[in-house]
Amino acid sequence: MRLTKTTMIAAMIGAITAGATLAETPHEMRSAMMKAQGKQLGILGAMVQGKAPYDAAAASAAATELDKLANADWMPAFPADSLDGKRAMPEIASNMDDFMAKYEALGAATTALVAVAGTDLDALKAAFGPVGAACGACHKSYRAPE
């Protein structure tokens, strides 16, 4: 009983601490998450563009990491009242269905990428294109320049 209570308190503290690290502005959350995606995409992109040798394990790992980020719940980072000051455009709030469709399109593309990233370079190349296109489609409609 006592132990459970302690565990609960510890869990609560953990949650608060986690909350504190997340107590960034939504813009900062978006920025950090997007850059993390860019980092994984960069590992894969270097192989696709022939700037780094193809490495099946590294490709698999990067694709898996990217897929986690792309399929995480983005909504906490996009509250409607945060969409006016920075690069995220206010149109996101008024076109939430389309925004969600673009988010889901990325998730589907990264899941397809995970499946083949470790197969060979050609398979990676083929699945990489749609991921970049999914990033670009959302930036085209919903991201303002810096």
Partner: protein, 297 residues
């Protein structure tokens, strides 16, 4: 004494009026300017893509085959009011199906419609004025092959005094420049210069404007406030952008930056257009960007 002063003022006023009349008079070329040019629709398609006509004249968010339906309607907010792209499909009533090649030359290079009225520089004729007549004639032939759309064009929604089209003659007198902005470029950058300055109108977005909406050519490609909303369209001169030539070509072909961010906003449309051009031309475009004077902010 007073009578004399009034007389002088009157005369000065008349001279001013005459000057206004002359300066603001639309200039139009006659068909003999293009006599003997044979249209090449294949080249016309290249020009159409590089010049980004569909980015403005197709419906908002159009993709694929819909990019060839030039029914207009897309809105372009600016500090002078909102401009709407008109229908330029081959529809004879609502589009430009009845236009001759010289009509298109006058619209794209002199900013004058077939009825002699001035067009707003929201149609980037400041860039297209640098196109060769041969390219306009080829473009005309290509446009004629596209599907007709029967949507009527929307009237422009601009405030006084910009609503007076005649006054645009003054704007052109001040700002319409037919020479290339960057005069000295290496020979390998000449194709790139033609793409950047005459067709893809990079300067329209990447160069700041003065109070009258004229491009500050002294800060060519040095960055500008985003007319469609927040933020700044980046400085792409060597004063700011340190990408290699290969980085630039990759960006034009795929939209990927060296950090694997992807182009957003209106630049995504530009990349869609540029990515259809031959790699050699994009290399030349990269060379051109590397040879424009550095603007530091």
């Amino acid at each position: 004494m007073l009578r004399r002063a009034i007389l002088v003022l009157l005369v000065l006023g008349l001279i001013g009026l005459a000057a206004f009349w002359v300066i603001t008079r639309p200039t139009q070329l006659t068909p003999d300017a293009i006599a003997g040019l044979t249209p090449d629709p294949v080249r016309g398609e290249y020009v159409f893509r590089a010049a980004g006509c569909a980015s403005c004249h197709a419906a908002k968010d159009a993709t694929g085959a819909d990019l060839l339906k030039l029914g207009g309607g897309k809105a372009f907010p600016s500090e002078f009011g909102t401009f709407y792209a008109p229908n330029i499909s081959p529809d004879p009533v609502h589009g430009i199906g009845n236009w001759t090649a010289i009509d298109l030359v006058n619209a794209l290079q002199n900013g004058v419609g077939p009825d002699g009225t001035h067009l707003y520089p929201a149609l980037p004729y400041g860039a297209y004025a640098k196109m060769t007549l041969q390219d306009v004639v080829s473009l005309r032939a290509y446009l004629a092959t596209l599907p007709a759309v029967d949507t009527p064009s929307k009237p422009q929604d601009v405030s006084f005094p910009f609503s007076i089209r005649r006054a645009l003659g003054g704007w052109k007198f001040l700002f319409l420049q037919r020479d290339f902005v960057i005069q000295d470029v290496p020979p390998e950058a000449e194709t790139g210069r033609y793409i950047a300055e005459a067709l893809a109108h990079c300067g329209e977005c990447h160069t700041a404007r003065n109070a009258l909406g004229g491009l500050k050519t002294g800060q060519w490609l040095g960055g500008a406030p985003n007319p469609t909303g927040k933020g700044t369209i980046p400085n792409i001169t060597p004063g700011k952008l340190d990408w290699s030539e290969a980085d630039l070509v990759t960006f034009f072909q795929s939209g990927f930056t060296p950090e694997f961010d992807t182009a957003g906003g209106t630049m995504a449309e530009v990349v869609e257009n540029l990515s259809t051009l031959p790699e050699a031309d994009l290399v030349s475009l990269a060379r051109y960007l590397k040879s424009v004077p550095a603007v530091t902010d």
